[in-house]
Amino acid sequence: MLELINVNKAYAGRQVLANLSHMLRSGEYVAIMGESGVGKSTLLNLIAGLDAPDSGDIRVNGVAISQLNDDAATRLRREQFGFVFQAFHVLPHLTVHQNIALPLLLNDRSTDRVEQMLANVGLQGRGEHFPRELSGGELQRVAIARALIHRPALVLADEPTGNLDPDTAHDILQLMRSEIKANGATGILVTHSHVAAGTADIVLNLTKNGLFQAQPEHRR
């Protein structure tokens, strides 16, 4: 589903990713861990087509996203990708319903599924609320719902529980895993947290030498 082929990326003369190669199969849910500054966010940006590698190739379902122009990469992202961020990034002046419906609107698809998704993430009856009326955990539920509403092939999550307390974080991680699995998507979770990483099928360590598989320490 996702292929990284000899990917290189440097910033301001510093090599962040060097000859990185990996393959991810459809339906896999992997966690990527690593020290700060090792290039986890850079890797996510490259996979999402938000940044281009200096050399190498990144293929999503056989399409070399790194070689697409901006519009084509945007269209691919719109259809195939879902995103969950540490800082939630929901639009403050749209209602919860409207925030979740965003990817459907961008893909010109019906928004009928939003109510079901609201129920799935435990936000029934909150569709007309504004983000300012929601707690941090609830905001992240909105973000997860938005990431999955259009049934993307690949969900990218960057420290999705970094701003949440442990109990809420646990709930969110379980929700994310179950929803990714229920939607048949492939998931990549970038995190520093071993607890969070433990919810994934596979844990990968990103080092300056490349990506290496590690055994999950916890599996709840």
């Binding site: 002046h93 749209l94 990817p103 609107l105 938005r146």
Partner: protein
């Protein structure tokens, strides 16, 4: 549901979340459009009404024959009437007469009387026929009757069969109001008499103002006009209806266009506010846009979204402005008449009608201005890379790119180039373009200048121990100058325009005041109540005046109206004694003069106004053929004088030359200097005791000066209103920008509160930022405004109105306004700050948006 819904959601959501900013931008556009549209409606209505009133006087005539002078010999009439191509020739005499009991010194206080041949007029201008009472048809031909339009009756407070007293030369004439007119336009003050009676009673025997011609069917107008003009020679003008319209159009065009330009300036200020609001919105929504890009919104879609927002803002603001403009126009006509303080359209009462084409034009201008304000921020929003924008703290990078000095420098260079270009169609098109480029360039340079200035200040203060608040203020102003400058765009635009207008108006006023001192040196000015173009005082009467006790000196003036070009308004000929050795003692000359000693013997000198140079190409040293008396004579232009009284041209020659060439010894005006010890009141009493004393218009020079300045102030009243509007829009912009920026900095304030800054310190910081920025803005605004005033004074005014003036700066007034703006801006920043620091500090830090 489609992406159109998303666009609507984003638009409504943004506007709902930032109602104040959206409202300010809307108001700015609406006020700008309203001012421009209302001025256009008023001017167009007044112009159309004036033009229609002129046509009404001409009826269905195909052509008019006029003399070069205002009046000509009636012997031309039978000759014209016998031309085979002429179906009807209609002779007319037109006089503006003073009415007993009305202030006759002012031209708008005189009654226009037309003398017509009732039988001829019935065929060409039937609307002008009088409507006598039943059974009194012969009143139309009586020598003591006059017919008045309804507006004239109302103005004079008379009815049918009442008596009306008017001045005719040196005596008073009593006429009977015999009735109204068949048809007169609303507000048109007009009177009609039998032409023979009028020539006799007003001492204009044998004279006509014009002859109107209706041609036989099938006659080629163009060929007839050319043939007639050739046969009549250079003493007459043959004009068609289109020439009349052109003449009316030329008369007020510069004034109307200048007012429209001023209104567009208010709209232009609005454009800066829109730019400022949209740019700040882009900064505030940087992460939102990045998220949308991550979720799959393309650059084009984002650009379209921002432009859509601009279109909605512009369309709403323009619609609001059109409605407001219409209302303003209706009210202005009610309270200010159609002149807007000028006197180009005397005696008309126009009605305001909705003009869909003009409405569409001003709607389009409002929309374009908004789009221009939106496009740069929108492109910036679309260009930003989402991965970078999602990171917090990168907001400053957005607008910094706009700080490139090159576009600004190109604008300033363009402005400089445009100041050197000549007018187009006698309009200072390049002058206005230069002002626009100067404004854009000056404002675009603001971020660079702000950064440079505050860096310098920081470096100078480095060695001193300054407090945390001062350090923070300086750091922000130095390191984020573009955002700071953004807030100042509106204020800089409006303040610089206000400075420019204030300097221009003050320069004009002081120049006029000095000029009045030069052209009105005598103690008293005595005229005969106007009787056409005839000199009122004959030699014996001149001697009577000069012989009065207590009079030291009398200068006699003969003035005449002449047409040198049928498409232009009349020029004025002044014949008067001019100090041949040093004409500067008599005339307000510019530096362009020929010394009297260098003129060859026997050459007749002529001094021309600046307008004659621009409109008729007269140059110092040039020999010109000029009509005096019955024929043309050669004069040499020896000097140019400033004339703020006659925009369409005037010349002065020696009275002796005039009298020798024309044989006309009568004069219109006597300028009188009193002996020491003689009071003005006593002199006036003495003059009133003369046989013809009651018919004299006696004016003190001080009264004439005061009246002139009063009229000046009234003509600039609209300018003051527009200036004030521009400043209010600017202040609104400062308020909105400061509020937006302060609210966007909530996290910064939260952090500062966490690290120990008091609420008071944060407010002090904001007030200092606002105050320092406004101080810099007003200083730069002054420099920019001063530069613009130079263009207005030395390019726009001479090219529009054909007069030059000297530069005067109203320092105290400008300082007072600058201080007022400084206080307002600091208070606005403070109020916005109170709102920002009043919320929960903890929440501010936790907020992601």
């Amino acid at each position: 549901m489609t992406s159109a819904s998303l666009s609507r959601w984003l638009l409504v959501g943004e506007w709902r979340a930032h109602v104040a900013q959206v409202l300010v931008a809307l108001i700015a556009i609406a006020i700008g459009v309203a001012m421009a549209y209302s001025i256009h409606l008023i001017n167009t209505a007044a112009f159309n009404e004036f033009s229609a009133a002129s046509k009404h006087l001409s009826g269905q005539a195909d052509m008019q024959v006029r003399g070069r002078k205002a009046y000509f010999d009636e012997s031309l009439y039978p000759w014209l009437a016998n031309q085979k191509d002429v179906a009807v020739a209609n002779p007319m005499l037109e006089l503006d007469v003073a009415v007993v009991g009305k202030q006759s010194i002012r031209s708008d206080q005189k009654l226009k009387i037309l003398g017509i041949d009732m039988f001829r007029a019935a065929q060409i201008s039937p609307d002008l026929l009088g409507l006598p009472a039943q059974g009194k048809t012969l009143d139309r031909l009586a020598s003591d009757t006059i017919f008045l339009s309804p507006a004239a009756m109302e103005w004079l407070q008379v009815q049918q069969d009442d008596e009306l007293q008017v001045y005719a030369g040196l005596h008073t004439l009593t006429l009977r109001v015999a009735g109204g007119l068949v048809r007169a336009r609303a507000g048109q003050r007009l009177a009609v008499m039998d032409i023979g009676a009028m020539q006799w009673r007003f001492e204009q025997l044998g004279l006509l103002s014009r002859i109107e011609l209706k041609l036989q069917p099938g006659v080629n107008h163009h060929a007839f006009k050319a043939r007639l003009a050739e046969e009549l020679g250079s003493s007459y003008w043959v004009t068609e209806a289109a020439d009349q319209e052109l003449r009316v159009e030329n008369m007020s065009r510069a004034y109307r266009i200048n007012l429209n330009m001023l209104a567009l300036v208010a709209l232009f200020t609005g454009a800066f506010l829109v730019f400022s609001a949209q740019a700040l919105s882009v900064i505030r929504r940087r992460q939102q846009f990045a998220l949308l890009r991550v979720l799959g919104v393309t650059r084009v879609q984002l650009l379209r979204q921002m432009i859509t927002e601009g279109i909605f803002l512009g369309a709403l603001g323009s619609l609001l402005g059109l409605s407001l403009g219409y209302l303003i126009a209706v009210m202005a006509i009610q309270f200010l008449d159609g002149n807007l303080g000028s006197s180009f359209f005397p005696g008309v009462k126009p009605g305001i009608f909705f003009d869909p084409i003009a409405a569409m034009l001003f709607f389009g201008i409002g929309l374009c201005v908004t789009l221009i304000g939106s496009i740069v921020p929108a492109m910036e929003a679309a260009r930003t890379r989402p991965a970078l924008a999602l990171r917090a703290g990168s907001e400053h990078a957005v607008i910094e790119k706009l700080a490139s000095p090159w576009p600004a420098l190109i604008c300033l260079g363009g402005a400089l180039l445009f100041t050197q270009l000549p007018p187009i169609l006698e309009l200072p098109v390049f002058g206005y373009l230069a002002i626009m480029l100067l404004l854009i360039g000056g404002i675009a340079l603001m971020p660079r200048f702000t950064a440079g200035f505050f860096s310098f200040l920081t470096a100078r203060l480095h060695r001193y121990q300054i407090g945390a608040v001062s350090a923070l203020v300086l750091a922000r102003l130095t390191n984020a100058p573009s955002q700071a400058a953004m807030a100042l765009g509106g204020i800089l635009a409006s303040f610089s325009l206000m400075v420019a207008m204030a300097i221009m108006v003050m320069s004009f006023r002081v120049s006029i005041d000095h000029w009045l001192g030069q052209v009105l040196p005598a103690d008293l000015y005595v005229r005969v109540a106007t009787t056409g173009d005839q000199g009122g005082f004959q030699v014996t009467q001149q001697q009577d005046i000069a012989g009065l006790a207590g009079i030291e000196r009398v200068d006699l003036f003969r003035t005449q109206q002449l047409i040198l070009d049928a498409s232009r308004p009349e020029i004025t000929l002044f014949a008067r004694p001019i100090d041949g050795n040093d004409p500067r003692n008599t005339l307000p000359l510019t530096d362009d003069v020929i010394a009297s000693g260098s003129l060859p013997e026997g050459v007749m000198p002529m001094w021309v106004s600046e307008a004659m140079v621009d409109l008729y190409g007269y140059r110092v040293g040039e020999r010109v053929q000029f009509p005096v008396g019955a024929s043309f004579h050669e004069f040499v232009v020896v000097g140019i004088w400033r004339d703020y009284g006659r925009q369409f041209g005037a010349v002065q020659i020696q009275l002796a030359d005039y009298q020798r060439l024309s044989g006309d010894l009568s004069i219109n005006t006597a300028a009188i200097w009193l002996r020491h010890g003689m009071t003005v009141d006593t002199a006036i009493e003495d003059m009133r005791r003369l046989d013809f004393g009651s018919a004299l218009e006696i004016s003190r020079s001080s009264d004439m000066r005061a009246l002139s300045l009063k009229i000046f102030d009234r003509s600039f009243a609209v300018t003051y209103v527009l200036e004030t509007v521009a400043v209010i829009i600017g202040l609104l912009g400062v308020g909105a920008s400061f509020s937006a920026q302060t609210l966007a900095r909530a996290k910064e304030f939260g952090m500062l509160r966490h690290v120990g800054m008091t609420r008071r310190q944060i407010l002090a910081m904001l007030a200092a930022e606002g105050g320092l920025l406004t101080a810099l803005g007003t200083t730069l605004g002054f420099v920019l405004g001063w530069s613009i005033s130079l263009i207005l004074i030395f390019i726009v005014n001479p090219q529009s109105f054909h007069w030059t003036m000297q530069l005067y700066v109203p320092w105290s007034w400008l300082l007072a306004v600058a201080l007022l703006m400084l206080i307002s801006a600091a208070l606005t920043a403070l109020m916005a700050g109170r709102q920002a620091v009043s919320g929960q500090v903890i929440r501010a830090v936790k907020e992601d948006w």
